[in-house]
Symmetry: C2
Subunit: 262 residues, 2 copies
């Protein structure tokens, strides 16, 4: 099977043009087939503020009302995605920028209203992803760049968590590619000591996860992150990496972040 | 050669949701391979007004400064393009929404500064179009939906005239498809009497164009429109149609607008 890297970057890279430039260079240099998935960043919030659309929160959770959906569609699918594609093209990477609506690549389901109405938010799993369409783009020599917008197949665009998209895409592609899923975030990976940058845990096997939780090495927001990563591995993803965008160039030398394997 | 329709719609359709819905139904029903190209509409102007970015004009010509480029990128490539794609998908058309940066489909040149600096505006011709990439998308069963944003190949997005894109795409695709170029606009086509809707000229051959200009049947803004249409025909496009979006469904019965041929 050919190798495929599914790489997710978040707002901390997108909001910093120097970091983004370096990341896109490193991404372009990665060998093999690849797919980039990006979240939002501060720009959508700033545009909302300029337009007098304030982020609606219910019980601490962000709600995507129709005005917010318009804004994230403009910012994620327009401004961020297209500028990223233009930059990748200039660096020699044949990027093609997409939402889940394009080519029906990701058909999500509007989150059902229970206690909270989250508005126009899409939920999905690997079965929501059209791996055949992504495969045909890869085979045509293109590099899909997906933003965090999907659709419901019935004309409605939906705001969707970029981590979830990355995981679902990686699982769906695992049937035809040896797929690595790479989450770039603020930290170097799982650290034995959060204050010591050299205390990186380079590899965690699935059976070690419970022990690391007990020992408190993995705690807080890292627990659901790693839980989801191991779920992806159970579903066929070869390896999940969690690390710092700045260090992506070292992934080939197995020297990037924390590597999660079976 | 397979047949291909390259269809351009403008703001009058985009700004009217009932019209747009019907147009997208008719577009979906068209047989054969097809490409949709869309312009802007009022939404970009409205967003600019809300953000306090007023359209800059020099000698009556619109200037695309960096703020305006941000707005058209958000509105054309994000809001309009992605909502159109989601609607087409719901109607059974496997649309994929793109700018010229995506897959390097259209590499334009920033308009040189002479008397006027138009800002971030891209000029192009058929050689700017990667017909191989469009062809691979069509062969993969997708329907490209292009907005009026291109790039320069050096990271810069550019605002580009949608009519020009439509013409350049049609000419570029003519080497591998029997291509029709269809401009949808406000009127039924070339009229003998502007006030008489039944006075439609159904067909104009290239050698008749000069005579129609002399007789005043073709005048004003219609002259450059038809001139450009015949240039496309000289460059290999099989036929150019100019007509009303509402009547697109009749194009199969050769009963749509004014048909321009060699």
């Amino acid at each position: 099977m050919n190798k495929l890297s599914v790489i997710k970057i978040g707002g901390n890279v997108i909001d910093n043009s120097a970091k983004l430039h370096q990341f896109l260079l490193d991404f372009t240099a990665l060998p093999g087939d690849k797919i980039l998935i990006h979240g939002g960043g501060k720009i959508a919030t700033e545009l909302g503020d300029s337009l007098g659309v304030t982020a609606k929160m219910v019980d601490g959770r962000r709600i995507t009302d129709i005005e917010t959906l318009r804004i994230v569609t403009m910012v994620y699918a327009g401004l961020i995605n297209k500028n990223m594609v233009a930059q990748l093209q200039a660096k020699g990477c044949n990027a093609i920028g997409l939402t889940g609506a394009d080519g029906n690549i990701i058909k999500a389901v509007k989150r059902p209203v229970k206690d909270i109405d989250y508005g126009f938010v899409g939920d999905l799993d690997a079965s929501s992803v059209s791996s055949a369409t992504l495969d045909s783009l890869l085979k045509a020599g293109m590099v899909p760049v997906l933003c965090a917008i999907t659709h419901d197949g019935d004309s409605q665009l939906l705001n969707t968590n970029a981590d979830t998209i990355a995981s679902a895409v990686a699982v769906a592609m695992s049937s035809s590619y040896e797929t690595s899923l790479v989450y770039c975030f603020e930290k170097r990976g799982v650290m034995l000591d959060v204050d010591d940058d050299t205390s990186l845990v380079s590899e965690i096997r699935m059976h070690e996860f419970d022990q690391l939780k007990e020992e408190g090495v993995v705690s807080g927001g890292m627990i659901p992150k790693l839980h989801n990563a191991f779920e992806a591995i159970k579903s066929g993803v070869a390896a999940v990496y969690i690390g710092k965008a700045d260090e992506l160039a070292q992934i080939d030398q197995q020297n990037f972040g924390t590597r999660l394997i079976k």
